[in-house]
């Protein structure tokens, strides 16, 4: 195991930031810490890096107990949410910083910097100052700087935050490719479930200072441990006594019962919303307190000629993932 976190607790005054956190992350894995803002995931990352101290518990990095080690002795690469590049140094100097601190020979530093700038596609900007770079470039610079010291683990705090959608997407693909190339144990923090599902090998879902579930993206999506995980990883709606994904609901214009399928719920379309290729329907289901959301492709909807007021029958699609609604007797 590359990172072994056990029994971590952290409080800020009365506020419990982390409560009894236990995670082991295998070497070479790309892990996402996923959860809503203020859930404690950044705090956990900073504790692993040694930038914050836990009230109790221990952190082991590559088999060494690092709980009491200062950040400079942990051999951890940390990429800050707001880059934290050294503004008064050129791009090349930024990347060279960790190597110069380690008093590596000049020629070696130069070669390593050139190699890393190549890797993050910043070679032509080597002599610029960070203020002359775009947000995405600064992020890559911060990453190259962290990689320069050949850390045993690489930690990234919201690596795709505060960038526009297109750059985010590019950086995401690029990080995944980079990880496959460099193979350093990587942990990144994100609040965007799509990002986590797309990039990570394993996702740790953190909410209110506690781990809700640990698993691969597929596991989390297909077997959510609870209501929260299910809701956080995608849209969820209610149909009868279960919660399920809006695209897992089958919609028909008649109550026709096929043998072997569960009975359909009758309802009336209340609202329609077009979003690109999909159509989102809000259906008022008879005898159910809250409305049900249904997502259809536009082509499908057009074929059925749906509109506000259309009477429809809903049933969970075969193989749909669902969790029972908690605390509700019956609909």
């Amino acid at each position: 195991m590359s990172i072994e976190v056990s029994g971590i607790n952290k409080k800020y005054g009365d506020f419990v930031a982390l409560e009894d956190i236990n995670v082991s992350l295998p070497t070479g894995q790309l892990t996402a810490l996923l959860g809503p803002s203020g859930g404690g995931k950044s705090t956990l990352l900073r504790i692993i890096a040694g930038l914050d101290t836990a009230d109790s518990g221990s952190v082991e990095i590559e088999g060494v107990n690092a709980t009491k080690l200062p950040p400079q002795k942990r051999n951890v690469g940390f990429v800050f949410q707001h880059y934290a590049v050294f503004k008064h140094m050129t791009v090349a100097k930024n990347v060279a910083f960790g190597l110069e601190i380690r008093k590596r020979p000049k020629a070696e530093v130069k070669a390593k910097v050139a190699e890393l700038l190549e890797l993050v596609h910043l070679s032509q900007f080597a002599h610029r100052l960070p203020s002359q770079l775009s947000g995405g470039q600064r992020r890559r610079l911060a990453l190259a700087r962290a990689l320069a010291v050949e850390p045993s683990v690489l930690l990234l705090d919201e690596p795709f935050g505060a960038l526009d959608a297109k750059v985010r997407k590019e950086l995401r693909d690029w990080l995944r490719r980079l990880h496959d190339e460099v193979h350093v144990t990587t942990v990144f923090v994100t609040h965007d479930q799509e990002e986590a599902m797309e990039v990570a090998d394993e996702i740790v879902v953190i909410n209110n200072g506690r781990i809700e579930q640990i698993g691969t993206p597929d596991q989390l999506y297909d077997e959510p441990a609870n209501d929260f995980v299910m809701g956080f990883l995608g849209d969820v709606t209610r149909l009868g006594n279960v919660r399920l994904r809006p695209h897992d609901i089958e919609l028909a214009l008649s109550p026709a019962v096929t043998p072997g399928t569960p009975p359909a719920f009758a309802g009336v379309i209340e609202r329609t919303l077009r979003l690109g290729f999909e159509l989102r329907l809000t259906v008022d289901v008879e005898g159910q307190g809250e409305t049900t959301q249904v997502v259809l492709s536009r082509t499908h909807a057009r074929a059925l000629d749906l509109g506000v007021g259309t009477k429809v029958w809903l049933r969970p699609a075969t193989g749909a993932i669902s969790v029972p609604v908690l605390g509700v007797a019956s609909a």
């Binding site: 040694g50 950040p71 940390f78 934290a84 590049v85 050294f86 380690r102 962290a146």
Partner: protein, 283 residues
């Protein structure tokens, strides 16, 4: 910068009246008195005597005047040096660390700004004089005399100009934040390396600005120094004390000449400051 240019372009009667008011106010309060000092510096001593630059230089070459300026320069140099080192240290302490009494320390640092320098001088005498001071007797038995000697003058000067350095550095430290320093430490830099390679380059213009300001303040310090110093010729007479002594002893031309040199030093300091500020603003 669009908004300032639109403000500048608005030229109504009110603008002119205000402009005239400000210029008039400055003229009466600053320009005219300074002009008088300058004019008298270069005026002939008596009817028919030689005036101008030569006479001015001659007055400055008087050994007691040279001594006074040397003493002032020594005091200012050490005071600024001490303040720079402690100023940077105190600023780091105030901004980067949380500890009980932090706010009180912050207020204490500002105290010399608000307390009259005369009171500062008096306080130093009370604390350190060999007769009555708290530490005075202990220091005297160790053979150290503070009041009435150059170290005392340096202390008084340093006391008065301390906040100037701290108040320049603190806002800059707050603005740059702690992320870059944390990044440096996660890259393997220890405390000193982080300070020298990351923190110091980020605050260097604030330090220079603070040094120039406190240099100007130290050169002109009078109240605190006056109380601590014996204030006699060749014995603790700094440039400012010299000006007062000569002025009251009817040796006005020498007083004017010394005053002019001090004005010149301040103007120089202001020029340096404005040259520093400019590249900073463009960032």
């Amino acid at each position: 910068m669009a908004d300032t240019s639109t403000i500048r372009n608005r030229k109504g009667p009110v603008t002119y009246v205000m402009r005239f008011g400000v210029i008039g106010y400055l003229a009466i309060l600053v320009v005219w008195p300074l002009y008088e000092v300058t004019a008298r510096t270069f005026a002939p001593l008596e009817r028919g005597a030689e005036g101008g630059f030569g006479a001015f230089l001659e007055r400055l070459q008087d050994p007691s005047v040279t001594y006074a300026f040397q003493l002032t320069a020594t005091c200012a140099f050490w005071a600024v040096l001490i303040n720079t080192v402690f100023g940077v240290g105190i600023s780091l302490l105030l901004v980067r660390y949380q500890f009980p009494g932090r706010r009180i320390l912050s207020v204490l640092v500002d105290l010399p700004m608000s307390v009259s320098p005369v009171v500062v001088g008096l306080a130093l005498v009370l604390a350190y004089s060999s007769g009555q001071g708290w530490f005075g007797e202990a220091l005297e038995s160790a053979g150290i005399f503070i009041i009435g000697t150059t170290p005392g003058l340096i202390m008084a000067t340093a006391f008065v100009s301390l906040p100037l350095v701290v108040r320049e550095i603190v806002p800059v430290l707050e603005e740059i934040g702690i992320d870059a320093e944390l990044a440096a430490s996660s890259l393997g830099a220890n405390g000193w390396q982080t300070f020298r390679r990351i923190t110091l380059p980020s605050i260097k213009w604030a330090v220079v600005y603070g040094v120039v300001l406190s240099m100007a303040r130290s050169l002109g310090e009078f109240g605190a120094v006056k109380i601590v110093s014996p204030g006699a010729e060749f014995r603790g007479e700094t440039a400012t004390i010299l000006i007062q002594n000569r002025y009251t002893n009817y040796e006005e031309p020498t007083a004017y000449a010394a005053a002019f040199v001090l004005v010149l030093a301040s103007v120089l300091a202001l020029v340096v400051v404005s040259l520093i500020r400019k590249p900073e603003d463009h960032k």
